[in-house]
Every structure is written in C-alpha cells, then in structure tokens.
C-alpha cells in the first residue's frame, strides 16, 4: 500500500509536477487553516443555505452527474452548475467581481493559473478538507489552503475508427502535420478552454510556435471548448482530433462510439483542475461541504470511475480496464508559465488560426 502510494506520487510529481505549490511558498504566506472534516454541524449549516452555485468547465454531463451525486448525498442542498470554457469563466468572474456581483460560490477551473490570479486578488477563502491534508501531494494543494487539485486529465490526440485505420492513425503531434490530415482535423481554442490553454502552452514549450504555425496551415476545424472535439470525432464530422479532452474520448469509447485515443510519442499535455471557494460566497457552508465532499476518497473514486479522469488522492485506484496515468508519457505542467504566457498564446494563436 505504502509502496504503491509513493510510486504514484513519484509519477505525478515527477512527470506532471505543478508549479503552483512552489509559487506560493513565499516567506509571508499565512498558515493553512486546520483541516476540516464533514460534520453534522457543517451539513446542517449547508442545508440552511439550501443552494450552491458551482462554476465549472467540466464536460456538462460529467459535471451534472457530479452535482446530482452531491444532491443525493445531502438532500436539501441544490446545486446549480455554470458550465463554460474556463477562459470564459475566468473573464466572467472578473467581470462579475468588478461589478460587485458575487454569484459564484465555488469554482473548478481547467486552467490552474487562474488560481494564481484569484489568490493574488485575495478572492479565495482558505479551507482545507481533511482528505486533502491527509492524502493529497503537496504539489497538488495550495500551501495556504486556498485550493486543491480535484482532478487531473489529459489533452490527447484521437481518431475515429470508422474513418481511420489503426495503422494509419497519427502516433505523434508531428504526424498531424502530414498533408493527408489537411481538412480532416478538429481542435479546440485556447482563448475559450483552459484545457487547451494549458495544453497549447506545453506544446509550444516542447515543439515551438513553428509546430502551431504548420498545424494552422492544415485547415483545422476550430471549435471552442475542449469538450467538443471528442463529440465532433464520434459524430464522424472529422477523422482526427488534434487536441481535446482525453476523458471524453475514453467515455465515448466505453459507450461504444468509434473513437480511439492516441498518446503522442512527444508526451501528452497534462492538465490539473483545482477547486477553490470564493471568500465572498453567498453559500459558504454549502461550498465548504461540497469542497470537503468532492475530495473524499469515496467521491474521488466515484468521480474518476465515471468521468475517466485521474485523481491525486493517494488512496484512489484507477478503474480496472482503464489505462493508468503512470503508463502514459506526460508533458510537464507549469501553471506559473501559463500565467506568464496567456496573453501571448491568445494573440499568436488568433493570428495563426485566424479566429
């Protein structure tokens, strides 16, 4: 047990270590608050509020299923999920805060760098669920207790098995530049999707802007959210997905759709999605309850089982039959790097892909 746990940590830290942990290891940092367990007092307080507004970029059916599970666990608290691309959510939250609107109680973003900004602004509430303190690697939780990584997932390549034979399928990002894929690919947009923002940063770091320039010449169908390319692929609208959520592909494949993920030889971009509570939350207790519940072993296990994502909770095991993240060559995450490069990525990407 212990051995497995360590190796798991090694993999996650070694190949996908997040910079967020170190960014905030500044000398002036406050102490993270005492870990909190789910108590009947917390549940009662949450029920009194009766409602929770959750901003999230998770694929809608996945997010709503999570919401329903929460409602079932704590009858009397309803959850409203605001789903949109993370970059859009980030912009809206900024817009709403600027106008003194405090709609969002709790947020899960697919661009970990957003939490750098929100923390800098002083918008986040320190709150550490017991499970996070006990079972989450330090690099996946904020030292001040402002947020914790609720899920890890990948942005991979994939293809439609009706349209592409396995032996012809691309094996690497470089393969996507082959003329035979011109006009046959779909990809999502870094100015809308945090997943794609994070993935684009890693691709540019590993392969350079030149790769993006050449990809842009391939007449790629440009959708917005990273949850869309898997769906376009399974409809057969395009033969190859140049980027997009790997978990979407896995779920569709398990549902019998003709899609197959490809983990590129250069490594697969890795994304981690932290969750944090806003200091201004109108339903703070419901938010705390949700945050605590979301990071328990049970919820994390249930979540990765139905969503095909990965958990950094030390006790969670991957679902039998699914590929383990430790078997996949990953690209390294760097939220701080993303934060510095966001503007450049948006501008240069728009220039290359013309939208």
């Amino acid at each position: 047990m212990r051995g497995r746990k360590l190796s798991r940590r090694d993999i996650l830290q070694g190949s996908a270590a997040l910079a967020v942990g170190t960014v905030f290891a500044s000398p002036v940092r406050a102490q993270a608050p005492e870990p909190v367990a789910i108590t009947s007092a917390l549940v009662d307080a949450a029920k009194k509020e009766g409602k929770l507004i959750f901003y999230s970029s998770m694929d809608l059916p996945v997010g709503e299923k999570l919401g329903k599970a929460f409602e079932a666990a704590f009858p009397g608290v309803t959850i409203q999920i605001e789903r949109s691309g993370s970059e859009r959510l980030f912009q809206r939250i900024d817009q709403e805060f600027a106008s003194n609107i405090r709609a969002a109680d709790i947020v899960n973003s697919s661009d970990a760098s957003h939490f750098i900004s929100w923390k800098k602004n002083g918008w986040l509430m320190p709150f550490v669920p017991e499970d996070v303190a006990k079972h989450f690697p330090e690099s996946y939780r904020d030292p001040d207790g402002m947020f914790a990584t609720s899920r890890v997932w990948l942005s991979s390549i994939a293809y439609n098995t009706n349209l592409v034979k396995a032996e012809d399928a691309p094996k690497s990002f470089a393969d996507l530049l082959d003329a035979k894929w011109a006009g046959k690919m779909v990809k999502a947009h870094p100015a809308y999707s945090g997943t794609i923002m994070t993935a684009t940063f890693q691709l540019v770091r590993e392969l350079g802007w030149e790769y993006m320039e050449r990809l842009a010449k391939q007449r790629v169908m440009q959708v917005q959210s990273s949850t869309d390319p898997p769906k376009k692929l399974s409809l057969g609208e395009r033969a190859v997905m140049a980027d997009g959520n790997e978990y979407g592909i896995v779920l569709l494949k398990e549902a019998g759709q003709p899609v197959e993920p490809v983990y590129p030889t250069e490594g697969t971009p890795t994304i981690s999605g932290p969750t944090g509570i806003f200091r201004s939350a109108e339903h703070p207790n419901a938010a705390k309850l949700f945050q605590a519940w979301l990071h328990t072993r049970e919820t994390q296990q249930f979540f990765i089982d139905f969503s095909a994502q990965y958990s950094v909770h030390a006790q969670v095991q991957s679902k039998p039959g699914r590929r383990k993240i430790s078997d996949i060559k990953l690209m390294k995450e760097d939220a701080e790097g993303v934060e510095k490069m966001t503007e450049e990525i948006k501008t240069r990407y728009a220039r290359l892909f013309r939208v």
Partner: protein, 570 residues
C-alpha cells in the same frame, strides 16, 4: 361662450405633457446613455484620455479589416437573397389564387419565430460536411466521397442567415401588396394594360418602397447577427464583425477596441438609411386612408400548383428540414443518426429537464423577460408612435429619432454600451434581470415603433379631433377612439417583441450572469461544448413556448381574440 370655455373644461388637468416628457426622459436614458459610453470608450484610451489610436489599430490590422469585409459581403448577399425569395412568395401569397396561401404565411411566421442561432445549429446537424444528415444521404445515394454541402463556409453562413432573415422582407412586401388598392391595377387593365405592363407600371412601383425597406432590414439583420456566425464561421476559420467584437471581450477585455469596432457598423447603417431616402426620394406612395376594394387575385390556372411547390420548396430550408433535424436529434442517441423506433431514446429529454441544472432558471428568466419586455416595449412604442404621428409635442422628431436609432446599433455593441453604463453607480443593474430588460427593450423598440407608427398612420387624426372638439381630453379620446382601432397592431407588436426576446442572443451574451441566464445563452453554451442533442430538446421547448404564448395572446377576448393572421402585420 368664451367665458364658459375658459371656466370649465380647461381646469381639468391634461396629464399628456408631463407623461410625454417622462417618456422622453426614459428614452434618453435608455438609448443615449449606452451610446455615449460607447463613444467615450471608442475615442479614448485606458486612462480615458482622448485618442484616435483605437481607429488606427482597427484600420491597419487585417485581423479587423477582414471581418469588416466579410460582414459587408454577408449582409449584401443575404439582403439580395432575401429579396429574391421573399418578393415572389409575397406576391404569390397576396395576389394570386395559389392554394394554401394561409399555410404558406404560417410557415413564414414559423421561420420568423425560429431563433437564427437555433436554425444554425439545426443546419449543422443537416449539412456539416461529414456528419451532416444531408451529406450522409448524398454519399449513400451516390457513393461520392466529397460532401455536397459545407455549412462551415461563407456560403453556408449566408444561406443560414438568409433562411431566418427573409421573413422580415416577406412581411413588408406582403403587407404592401395586401393593402394596395385593387382599383389601381383594375384601372390599368381596363385601359388595356397587359398583365406585365400593369405589373411594371403599377404593382412593382407601389411595392418597391416595401421591398427596399425590406432589403435594408435584411441587410441590418444579417450585419448584426451574432449567433449564426459564432456557430458557423468560427469552425470555418473566419470572423465577422460581431464575433470579432465578442472576441475582444476575452480576458483582458479590450473594451475601447470593441467600442471602436462598432463605429464602422454604425456608419454603414446610417449610410444605408440615407441611401434608402435618396433612392425612394420624397415621392409619397401612401395609398391608405380610403375604402378600396380588395386586390383582385390573379388566376394562375395550372401554374397554381407549381407556385405552391415553389413556396414549399423554399420553406424546406428554414422550416421543414431544420425542424426535422432538431426533432431527430432530440430522440437520437447520436445527434445525426436517423432515429428508428428501435433506437429512439428519451435520454436527451430526461437530461435537459431533470439533470441540466440551469434549464428551469433559464426558462423562467426567458418567459419573464419576454412578457415584460413585450408589455413595456409595446406601451413605449405606442406612446412614441402617437407623439410622432400626431406631433403632440414640439420635439416629436427627436423622440422618433431616439426610437429608431438603436436599429443602427448591433446587439452586441449595445450589450457593451449597457455593460459600461450599468456596472457602476448610480445604476448598478448588471447581474439583475433589469439590465437584460433594458437591452431587449432597446433592441426591439425600433421595429415595434415602426409597426405602431404605421398602424397610427392608418387612423385618421380627424377622428381624434372630433372627439376632442366634443370635450374629451387627449387621453380620453385615445382610449375611446384610437385604442380600439389599434388593437390588432398592438397585439402584433406585443408578439413581435416577445419573439424578438426569444431570438435575442447578441446582447444577452455580454450581459448575463449565472442567475440571469436566458435560453438563448444556455443554447449557445451548449453549442460551445458540442451538446447538440440537449440543444435540440431545449430548442424545441423554446419553440413550443413561443408558439403557445403567441397563440394565447391572440386569443385574449378583450383584444378581440380569434382574429387570425395578426402576425402578418409584423
């Protein structure tokens, strides 16, 4: 006589003026405030120092010029396409003995009621190059490799925009033809004019103003639409002005550029409105006001059926095919697979109504906003139309201008203006339904005003004068004389605004928050994540609500319910 006159009736307060000034003030706040903020942002930098730099950036960067050109192409071709389709159908419906004329009118109304963004999604289901149902069918039938249609293209976008813009032209043309006195054509015929001569010398010139006005409206609609380009142009890799402006809201928002980018659209609109005046000159085409015989229907013989086939063929595009695609997707496990009894599923419906947590809220918000905007907007338009047609106050022209001005402001630009106006004191409305109400009011006001102005124009002021001479106050004469005559126009305007609110996306997309989400925004979000089946279910629900409300309003007894075809006046 004189003493009596000064003593008694004049002591009664005539509330007209104060009420009118109140309305004027409201209109100024409604329209001038957001436009002023837009102007301020367009001509200043971040520190609010005056500058023209925004325009320099705009006109030297191909990333802005390309969308401007694209938008001009889209608007022009859509306007032409709409006229080419709407004019013959309008004529057939209004002037011939073609069978099923009422059905054709109803179907055009159905295409008008369909929100353009929903139509765009439906056409994705039909004509996406690889997964689209029509392309699948084509490949199946011919064995071809290449798709027949590619909806993700400039042509595809123009096609879809035209599908949902032509009703505007149709309504104007059909109304003009409906109201044209048959005697004029009869006279021409009696004087020996052949059918074509009569058409060329009498009918077409009389219908021309309506057609030009229709072309103009179609142009403006196509130019300012946001949903269809966002859904179809972005995957194809190009922007229009509205999607470009929207992209300027990405964090960090470049509001100055967004405001400046709106200026070319404004100028283009003003230019067009002027052009229309020059084109039509000051010739009066008014033929309303007397009792004329109804137009003589032209007997088409066997051509009647060909004409009907033509109309149905055209209506395949905005109505039959898209509705079929939406219904199919709603029950399909995979949005573009043809449903069979064996594969039909209720999963999508269950998902939308029991799992999707924003459905109820968005439904509620949309209906509240639709009904309140329609009620307030109709009242406002009624008052302004009254003031301008009866020249009640000196500044009636200003009021008329204010009511028409928003037509030049694209919804998304107005959204920006309202956002700038109402996110800071004294009016902090962002995050409430009020800001959406203001947006929808402003957007629907020009057409509501024009409709009611036209309705007023058909009621001779002498009727009111008679009532006032007999001692009634202005408000009394309005209530007793004018109101009953306006009933049909008022109901039509109410429905028109209600439908307009259901269709509206471009301003809402800038102004909504999680608590003030409306159906159109929810559908746009679902499209962004590719949840086409959920969109289909919501879209159908939206259409059902719209039709139900419109039918219900038309049946309210106090409004003289049961009278059909009210919408044709819209």
């Amino acid at each position: 006589m004189t003493t009596i006159a000064t003593d008694t009736p004049r002591s009664r307060l005539d509330l007209t003026r104060p009420i009118l000034w109140l309305f004027a003030a409201f209109m100024i706040v409604l329209i001038v405030l957001p436009l002023s903020w837009l102007a301020v942002f367009a001509f200043t930098d971040k520190a609010r120092h005056p500058t023209l730099q925004n325009f320099v950036t705009l006109f030297t960067d191909p990333a802005f010029l390309d969308p401007l050109l694209t938008t001009a192409i889209i608007a022009t071709t859509s306007a032409v396409a709409c006229c080419l389709v709407a004019a013959p159908i309008g004529w057939l419906v209004s002037r011939t003995d073609m069978p099923g004329r009422q059905i054709i009118r109803a179907l055009v109304t159905a295409s008008f009621v369909t929100p353009p963004f929903l139509g765009a999604v439906a056409w994705e289901l039909l004509a996406a190059p690889n997964s689209g149902m029509l392309n699948q069918l084509y490949r199946y039938l011919t064995g071809a490799e290449d798709p027949l249609f590619d909806i993700y293209s400039l042509t595809g976008l123009i096609f879809v925009i035209s599908c949902y813009t032509f009703p505007f032209v149709f309504v104007l043309v059909a109304n003009a033809l409906d109201n044209m006195p048959g005697e004029l054509e009869d006279a021409s015929a009696i004087l020996g004019g052949k059918a074509w001569t009569t058409a060329r010398r009498v009918t077409i010139p009389l219908a021309m103003p309506a057609l030009v006005a229709g072309a103009l409206i179609a142009f403006l609609q196509a130019m300012t639409l946001f949903g269809s380009p966002a859904i179809l142009a972005l995957p194809a890799g190009f922007h229009t002005m509205t999607t470009k402006i929207w992209s300027l809201f990405q964090y960090p928002p470049k509001l100055e550029l967004a405001a400046a980018a709106a200026v070319p659209l404004l100028l283009l609109t003003i230019l067009l409105l002027q052009g229309q005046k020059v084109l039509l000159g000051r010739r009066g085409y008014s033929v309303l006001g007397g009792k004329y015989g109804p137009p003589r229907p032209i007997e088409m013989g066997a051509w009647r059926w060909a004409a009907l086939a033509f109309c149905l063929l055209v209506l395949l595009n905005p109505v039959f095919l898209p509705y079929f695609a939406l219904l199919n997707a709603a029950f399909s496990p995979n949005a573009t697979t043809l449903v069979t009894p064996a594969t039909a599923t209720l999963h999508n419906i269950v998902f939308v109504f029991t799992e999707l947590s924003s459905t109820q809220l968005a439904l509620k918000n949309t209906v509240i906003l639709g009904a309140s905007t329609a009620t307030i907007g109709t009242t406002l338009a009624l008052v302004v139309a009254y003031v301008t047609t009866r020249r009640v106050i000196a500044s009636h022209r200003v009021l008329g201008f204010l009511a028409t001005a928003p037509v030049a402001v694209p919804g998304i630009v107005l959204g920006v203006g309202l956002f700038l106006s109402y996110t800071r004191p004294p009016f902090v409305l962002y995050g409430t339904l009020w800001i959406l109400l203001l947006a929808f009011l402003t957007i629907t006001l020009p057409s509501a005003y024009q409709q009611l102005q036209a309705a007023f124009a058909t009621i001779h002021p002498e009727l009111e004068d008679a009532s006032r001479i007999l001692g009634a106050s202005r408000l009394q004469s309005l209530r007793q004389i004018t109101a009953p005559l306006l009933r049909t126009g008022v109901i039509a305007t109410w429905c028109f605004i209600f439908i307009g609110v259901m269709r509206e996306l471009s301003a809402a997309i800038v102004l909504f928050t999680s608590q003030t989400k409306v159906l159109s925004v929810l559908i746009y979000d679902l499209n962004e994540s590719g949840d086409l089946a959920a969109i289909s279910v919501l879209g159908i629900a939206m259409l059902v609500i719209t039709f139900a409300v419109v039918l219900a309003v038309n049946r309210i007894p106090m409004f003289g319910g049961g009278a059909g075809a009210k919408l044709r006046n819209s």
